[in-house]
Amino acid sequence: MGDALRALLAGAFGSWYAFGSGTLVRATPLILTGLAVAIAFRAGVFNIGAEGQFIVGAAAATAAALAMHSLPAFILVPSMLVLGFGAGALWAWIAAVLRARFHVLEVISTIMLNFVALHLVSYLVRGPLQEPTHIYPQTVTFVDAARLPRFGSTTRLHLGFLVAVLACVAAWFVVRYTAAGFRLRAVGANPDAARSAGMIDAARTTMRAFLISGALAGLAGAIEVSGVTYALYENISPGYGFTAIAVALLAQLNPLAVVGTGILFGALEAGATAMQRDAGVPSVVVSIVEALIILVLLALDRFRSTATRESPA
């Protein structure tokens, strides 16, 4: 147990290299998907589909990287990120329309779409996007022009981390200081009251929040292939979309706090990889920790609201 914990801490914080190239690299997709979940939950949308939106974002960015590989980096990389952003929004749009028009619970539809996205990528990397020798289920490694720049030659930390942090700051500003942010908070807190107050088109606000949520998760996928893996393969996400729920809840759905909780879970996952390598403890243990964190937060939240609420008859 002591060995395992030591290995986990060393893997996450042991050196500047471990912190930057392990923890912060791992934190980048978690911050963006965590932000995606936070914005959706704020609007009362249970988007459990960040995983699928991440995957289609990664696939769209990959398609761009392969199709436009002769373009210069300053055009190619932004195109990849924009396409990933759009693909994530499109994937969320399916669930958003199913919810708005057909009253389909988004919890079910987003999870179904996760599986469809998985099989779609499985098809792509064994079919049209497979590397030319047709041996491995993955794409070719991207050309340099399709890769996000790194913060120096001795680290694996890439520009995507900065993008993730800036996205959180921007989202925090919008939610806190703009009319759109006010609508989002109002609809999430009480859709009926927001509607009867007459100022707010609740359906449109919900739809926008859902699309932005999907877009951010798609952007996370695009950044992952462009900044870390430089290729697309089947298990491109080790469950980022689910960890994102813990990230968002621990941040109490506050976009700025998501940066901190994203780094915390990044450390946990980077450390768990080291723990499995050095102490033989399976890295899936992290799922247990994440689940327990969510459950403890639910318990605390409940006790807080019970303490402050007037006791009902």
Binding site: F46, L98, F102, I294, L298
Partner: protein, 306 residues
């Protein structure tokens, strides 16, 4: 396409539908009591892992027993958080408990069975032919030459229907799903009934997981529930919260999954991932066609305080 192909298709339909029907019939009872148990996915996964552990030590009986106990344990955790202790949000708690089940089964599997896990085989439940009925053309083999868990579905569907619509207790359960406050006022102990309903869902969900391992795969793989819990929840909507409707909806999904066998026989070359994605796409399409037109229990997924 030959008669043999159609027979194989019908057999695969019933085989695939069996765990879905078991889990979904349990979820009907849970949802009729006003609880949306998203942790059903985690329950099925725990049932599958429990079946492996039980069967390696105690054969088939041990396998099904531990499968049920594992399902109930996860259901108990869910009930603790949503019904009897905390009354937390059912969707968030259910998602967290599914994550917990994924982590627990994955960690235990790798710790207990290590890298040898993949080669692990355990006894599987044999088919039992029902004399006479098995001779029916085309469907005889599909319906009446299956492992015992399929016959359990045939028994449990009418039993749940009768209990829910013909008994006083069943009326109480449905009343709670519509208005727990009114049910409480009428003397039904809503928390107590919801708790028992969730545990019943855990028993059937655990059996569904056990069926995957003991009647079908003969082994366990991490995450082998593969969304069946969520499909079962969709099936409950398609079957309009009625046990018979749910069994028919489960058969529809079994057929969608089994379609690949039939299409392979026709020789049409399509990517196999298309067939793997088909049940999920069909779930979405079917929900879009049905969800707006049916009425869920009014109190579904609502937190009920006293």
């Amino acid at each position: 396409v030959s008669v043999a192909d159609v027979t194989a298709f019908a057999e695969a339909t019933v085989r695939t539908a069996t765990p879905l029907a078991l889990a979904a019939v349990g979820e009907v009872v849970v949802e009729r009591a006003g609880v949306l148990n998203i942790s059903l996915e985690g329950i099925i996964l725990a049932g599958a892992f429990g079946a492996l552990v039980g069967a390696t030590h105690g054969g088939l009986t041990g396998g099904f027993l531990v499968a049920v106990l594992s399902g109930v344990a996860i259901a108990l955790a869910f009930a603790l958080f949503t019904v009897i202790w905390l009354r937390a949000d059912q969707i968030i708690a259910g998602t967290a408990i599914t994550l917990l089940s994924t982590g627990l089964t994955g960690t235990l599997y790798r710790t207990l069975y290590g890298s040898a896990g993949a080669a692990l085989t355990i006894p599987t439940a044999g088919r039992i032919a029902i004399p006479g009925l098995v001779k029916l053309p085309v469907v005889g083999d599909a319906l009446f030459n299956q492992p015992a868990t399929t016959y359990l579905v045939y028994l449990i569907v009418p039993a749940v229907w009768w209990w829910m619509f013909r008994t006083h207790a069943g009326l109480g359960l449905r009343a709670i799903g519509e208005s727990p406050a009114a049910a409480d006022a009428a003397g039904v102990r809503s928390t107590h009934v919801r708790f028992v309903a969730v545990l019943f869902g855990g028993i059937l969900g655990g059996l569904a997981g056990g069926t995957l391992v003991l009647s079908q795969a003969g082994t366990f793989a991490e995450g082998m529930s593969a969304g069946r819990g969520f499909i079962a929840i969709a099936i409950v909507v398609l079957g309009r919260w009625h046990p018979v409707g749910v069994m028919l909806a489960a058969l529809l999904f079994g057929a969608a999954s089994a379609l690949q066998f039939l299409l392979q026989a026709t020789g049409i070359a399509l990517p196999y991932q298309l067939f793997l994605a088909l049940p999920y796409v069909l779930t979405l399409a079917a929900l879009a066609g049905v969800a707006g037109r049916v009425r869920a229990p009014a109190a579904l997924a609502r937190v009920h305080d006293h």
